[in-house]
């Protein structure tokens, strides 16, 4: 590999690409050429850095300068000042929200300080389209070690010992899963990588595939070696074109190097992968539904057992793991099960990647050790709530998870604690809500998603979620009763108790957890007909304060439905029955005489 004094790492993740990072990379290269620095500085397009809030990111090594929100126009300055003269472009450095100081090195940013990157170890570090960079970082060494120094059972034992659990949501012990698949005899077995990431707001799998595709291929080959499979299939959403492209490039490079194909590293082990595209149905993240979708059938779950490890793709033993789970595997084999299990909590080892979103300052992708508290994630890494508002709740586990509150902030995050708190790990979505969010509306939002994404196979999910959603809509429109809230609780419990697959069994969680933690808010909706957060339009009540109204008629002229009446220079009145709560009068009034409740 050529020697460069300076590497300019430009984020090539989907988020930063959407903000023109490709043009930035192009401009940087051009400026380097203009100044004749081609032999000194190299522009590398990497995977996601995680700090998407501040993208596009350009990081310059060796001095570890982290430029944020770079625009294509900034490139000239970066090259002429920083690369040529060694002067950092201060205005592009991250500004600490509390101290207002510019921080140059990402390691000193709150966002990165608490993170440990295992699954994301290569994201934002290597060029994902260059296998050499992966190999230079010990890539395929874990596969080599497994193939030449270990028996399949020894590898499985390592994974078991590491305590790695499935990162897709279920938290099933990965080593055990492999062991079961290995134990079933068949002429053909399959390794499947579940890249059908579907939680709203979650994009860790995509980032890993975009930023470090080789780690997934390597882990799949290791898994294939363990369970006795020669074929691997990546089931990936067709909506992830960049991840697909990078994965294809990676696979091609592997075949050129002989790291996929027959007799890998002279070990006699054959393995290759292929890609299958999912059409984006959320339920296809459920492993049996995923397998049916791959078989060309309707993407619907089936009752387990039989588990895929017994009868999966084409009726053959199949091991399905999620992307993030696989990403941990090579690191475990290289650094050892002890190292991995030293990180995390008693029953949840290692790290977990979360996608931070919502009313939080630092939106992005983070990887923290299991056991980190919600407070650390939200207030230290996430930089707290936007606009200094008050924290209200955090929704974990995507549409299947629940809302956690203030009192859960110091709960160490792991699989079991989240379930105990009425939510779940899920694939790692984390959506933060502030005082302006109506929790009934939040529950309604998630139900809308599950209603859309239900496959329709089992009655509780197909019809039950629809009814939950209708009931929530009724409450939000001010027509609910306290009995409705009670019925929501019963219906939610029955759906959880009877639905066929994980989607239905968890879909009432947002409703049940918000009823549990924000019962008063539901009560306010149905008894006082008030939305405390002021989000439910139908529950807003517009009135005119007679002492402030000058009778200027601006409001009555702006009302689209003629709900405001009154004589000139006399206080006006709003007819609540006619009012459609559009807020036009509120905007027009110059005397703050319109009162909203």
């Amino acid at each position: 590999m050529a020697q460069y004094k300076m590497h300019l790492l430009v984020c090539g993740g989907t988020g930063c690409r959407a903000s023109q990072s490709e043009r930035i990379a192009g401009n940087l290269k051009e400026e380097i050429k203009n100044l004749g620095l081609e032999n000194e500085a190299q522009v590398v397009i990497t995977g996601c850095f995680g700090f998407c809030e501040k993208g596009p990111i350009v990081k310059i090594v060796p001095d570890n300068t982290f430029y944020t929100q770079v625009k294509p126009e900034d490139c000239k300055e970066i090259i002429s000042e920083h690369v040529l003269k060694g002067r950092k472009v201060t205005r592009l450095l991250y500004e600490d929200p509390s101290t207002k100081e510019h921080i140059s090195d990402s390691k000193h940013m709150g966002f990165y300080q608490k993170q440990i990157r295992i699954a994301l170890r290569n994201c934002g570090f290597i060029n994902p389209e260059n296998i050499d960079e992966y190999i230079a970082r010990d890539g395929y060494a874990a596969l080599g070690k497994a193939l030449t120094e270990m028996t399949p059972q020894q590898v499985i034992d390592q994974i078991k010992k590491s305590g790695l659990r499935g990162r897709g949501g279920g938290g099933f012990p990965t080593g055990l899963k492999w062991e079961i698949a290995a134990g079933n005899k068949a002429d053909q077995k399959y390794v499947v990588c579940n890249a059908d990431e579907g939680d709203p707001g979650a994009f860790m799998d995509r980032s890993i595939l975009e930023g470090d595709p080789h780690s997934i291929i390597e882990a799949m080959a290791i898994c294939g070696y363990c369970i006795g499979a020669t074929k691997g299939i990546v089931y990936i959403r067709a909506e992830y074109p960049l991840a697909i492209q990078r994965l294809k490039i990676a696979a091609r490079q592997c075949r050129e190097y002989g790291l996929l194909g027959a007799d890998i590293m002279g070990s006699g082990f054959d393995f290759d992968i292929e890609l299958r595209y999912g059409a984006g149905a959320f339920v296809c993240g459920e492993e049996t539904a995923l397998i049916h979708s791959m078989e060309g059938l309707r993407g619907e779950p089936t009752v387990k057992p039989p588990f895929p490890a017994q009868s999966g793709y084409m009726g053959k033993p199949t091991n399905v793991n999620n992307v993030e789970t696989f990403a941990n595997v090579p690191a475990i084999l290289l650094k050892g099960a002890e190292w991995f299990s030293s990180i995390g909590t008693e029953k949840s080892k290692g790290t977990k990647v979360f996608a931070l979103a919502g009313k939080i300052n630092n939106v992005g992708l983070i990887e923290v050790p299991m056991g980190t508290t919600l407070r650390e994630v939200i207030f230290e890494i996430g930089g707290g709530i936007k606009d200094g508002k008050k924290f209200k709740a955090v929704q974990t586990g995507g549409p299947s998870g629940g809302c956690l509150t203030e009192k859960h902030l110091d709960t160490p995050i792991d699989f079991d604690n989240l379930i105990a708190a009425g939510s779940m790990m899920g694939s790692g979505g984390m959506i933060v809500m502030d005082e302006d969010d109506c929790m009934v509306s939040v529950a309604k939002f998630y139900l809308e998603f599950t209603v859309d994404e239900s496959c329709g196979k089992c009655a509780p999910c197909r019809v039950g979620n629809k009814r939950l959603h209708e009931m929530l809509e009724k409450i939000c429109s001010g027509k609910g009763t306290i009995e409705d809230v009670e019925y929501l609780k019963n219906l939610g419990a029955v759906i959880k108790d009877t639905a066929l697959c994980g989607l239905g069994q968890t879909s009432p969680n947002p409703v049940l957890s918000t009823i549990e933690h924000f019962y008063d808010e539901y009560k306010a909706h149905v008894t006082e007909r008030i939305c405390p957060a002021g989000q439910c339009k139908a529950l807003k009540l517009y009135t005119i304060l007679a002492d402030k109204c000058t009778g200027c008629t601006a409001c009555s002229r702006s009302c689209p439905v003629g709900a405001i009446s009154g004589e000139k220079r006399q206080p006006h009145v709003i007819d609540a029955d006619k009012c459609i709560r559009c807020g036009a009068c509120y905007d027009k009034c110059k005397f703050t005489a319109i009162h909203v409740q």
Partner: protein, 595 residues
């Protein structure tokens, strides 16, 4: 499909509702309970064990039970018993869940039960009664999923009544391999329909109607022709005659509370006469005629084959079953010259009635109305095929199902059980035992063998019963010794089994001389027009046995010995495969380019 027969060896102990029982390993909770007198309700689960047909999607969630140590409720239909398992089928938790789930299903179901064509037959209605649902909790104006209605000549689809049990889908795809029905759309709007939202008539549907036979609600129902039959009967200018298919007599009694397998031939004839049909005839007569034509065709092809003719098409395939005809027209267009050209008995009867019987009566064909009573829905489609019409007048005017006949009888205030037995009219009402067994799988070929043997060997059959051809196995094979010449016979019922045979023939794997195929499980006795079996395949087995009982009781049991058939050839047709016979009793097949 998961079959329990392979793991019956090992026994395990479980407790259901405090009752300790021993079951074979691999048994489901549902089955273990059922075997011990605990009937857990279900809507989607279907198990026709005699026919090895199972639908077990685990989708309705009505059969959930509590299993100790398990987090959520278990679907009993698809949860296998494990040693020491403790199951409770009627705790408060279970009952609340079961009722709530049923309420949910009902909340998305029309409430017009009073006028639903499945009223009284509906599994959903019955379960709602059993669980005592009196109220449906849902918001006012709760959404209901709706879908365009579809009416074909044989069956109607009203998907608003679909509860997504997927039985029809399993039957259509897994059992029949027709592939006309599958779930489309998602979630609340999911519905079972042909691909690309086609209507059935444009789809690869064969109109076998087995989807109707298993539908637990009124979503899939037969096209009802009873109104047109009543109008014809009350038209003084028309002579209305009726033919009854062999399988009807073995099942009609069930509609009047009789045990499955009760033969009601005499009562049925009496009822039809009371209904006002001018003549009551028997499709069995035409079945004997079919044997004469098809048997002769078979012998012709075999003789040519034995003489070394390389162009002769063997095996000959039976062509009595209209759903089967639709199936090969859709799927085996390269083999359209393989099946026998003989028309089905229904159409042979119609043709003889409209051409020969009108002569005997001296009336115009337009003034004769031929009604058929069939166990079958595909017959409704068949009698409308253009090739079976003369100047737009069909040989068979209307085809009604066994269930439709029952409803006609009930509407006419006839106390069926009290009727005295009556006899068919002459001449088209006379038949042999060979014709009766057309109603069961293997029967057509057995009837053909009885005749072909004697015609081929010029010897009298020692033993009339070819038990080697009988049974409910999906595919059966036998070799019959025709006095030194071994004739290889294949038999398949259910179209999926037919496909296996046909694919084998296409690939040149088999060496059959003749193959009988029936679309429905068990043959016509399991037809979609028969009284509903409600998932109990004992019913079909009982009808199967009844058919052979009827045969055994017949004086004449070989088609070529039917004196009226002999007379028909002498007076009118000449001989089998004569030009006239070709014109009136044979047909040809069409390529249907349905994907």
């Amino acid at each position: 499909m998961f079959n329990n027969v392979f793991s019956v060896m090992e026994k395990i102990k479980i407790t259901i509702d405090k009752k300790e029982i021993e079951v074979a390993k691999g048994t489901t909770i549902y089955q273990a309970a059922k075997d011990n007198g605990i009937h857990i309700p279900t809507l989607c689960y279907l198990n026709l064990d005699h026919l090895k047909i199972e639908n077990r999607p685990g989708g309705c969630r009505v059969c959930v039970v509590e299993v100790e140590g398990r987090k959520n409720l278990a679907p009993s239909c698809s949860t296998e018993c494990t040693n020491g398992m403790v199951v409770k089928t009627h705790t408060v938790r279970v009952l609340n869940a079961r009722k709530t789930v049923l309420e949910l299903i009902l909340s998305d179901h029309p409430k017009d039960c009073l006028i639903c064509s499945s009223s009284g037959q509906c599994d959903l209605q019955k379960l709602s009664q059993t669980l005592g649902i009196r109220e449906i909790h849902a918001v006012e104006n709760a959404a209901v999923s709706t879908y365009r209605k579809d009416v074909s000549p044989a069956l109607k689809r009203d998907m608003d009544k679909c509860i997504m049990c997927r039985r029809c889908e399993t039957i259509c795809n897994t059992v029949q391999t027709v592939g006309a029905l599958s779930a489309i759309n998602r979630g609340f709007m999911s519905v079972v329909a042909p691909a690309f939202e086609q209507d059935l008539i444009d789809s690869p549907c064969t109109f076998c109607g087995q989807c109707v036979a298993v539908c637990p609600t009124g979503a899939l129902t037969p096209f009802d022709d009873t109104g047109r039959v009543i109008r014809a009967l009350s038209d003084p200018t028309k002579t209305v005659i009726v033919q009854t298919a062999p399988a009807v007599r073995a099942a009609l009694g069930e509609e009047f509370g009789m045990e499955p397998g009760t033969l009601v031939t005499g009562k049925m004839v009496a009822a039809l006469r009371t209904l006002g049909f001018d003549k009551v005839f028997d499709t069995d007569f035409a079945a004997d005629l079919t044997i004469m034509e098809e048997g002769t065709e078979l012998l012709g092809r075999i003789s040519k084959f034995l003489e070394g003719d390389k162009n002769v098409k063997l095996p000959i395939l039976t062509s009595c079953c209209p759903a089967w005809v639709n199936f090969f027209e859709n799927n085996y267009q390269d083999m359209l010259d393989v099946p026998s050209t003989a028309r089905s008995p229904q159409q042979m009867f119609g043709s003889i009635a409209k051409n020969y019987y009108t002569q005997l009566l001296g009336i115009k064909r337009e003034d004769l109305v031929v009604v058929s009573v069939m166990p079958c829905l595909a017959k409704k489609y068949e009698c409308q095929r253009e090739e079976f019409k003369t100047n737009g007048n069909p040989d068979v005017d209307f085809s009604i199902s066994t269930r439709e006949l029952a409803s006609l009888i009930k509407a006419a205030n006839i106390d069926f059980n009290a009727l005295e037995d009556d006899d068919y009219d002459s001449p088209l009402g006379e038949s042999t035992g060979a014709a009766v067994i057309f109603g069961a799988t293997g029967g057509v070929i057995e009837a053909a063998v009885r005749t072909a043997y004697e015609l081929f060997t010029k010897k009298k059959l020692e033993k009339i019963d070819f038990t080697e051809l009988r049974g409910l196995e999906g595919i059966r094979t036998a070799s019959i010794d025709f006095n030194g010449t071994m004739i290889n016979i294949g038999i398949a019922h259910q179209l999926g089994n037919a496909r296996k045979l046909l694919d084998g023939i296409r690939a040149g794997l088999y060496n059959f001389h003749a193959i009988e195929i029936m679309a429905c499980p068990g043959g016509c006795i399991g037809g979609a027009g028969q009284p509903l079996h409600h998932g109990n395949s004992d019913v079909i087995k009982a009808r199967f046995d009844a058919i052979y009982r009827e045969d055994a009781g017949k004086k004449i049991r070989k088609s070529h010995e039917n004196p009226y058939i002999v007379k028909l050839y002498e007076e009118y047709l000449g001989h089998p495969l004569s030009e006239k016979a070709h014109h009136l009793l044979h047909t040809h097949y069409f390529e249907k380019n349905k994907n």
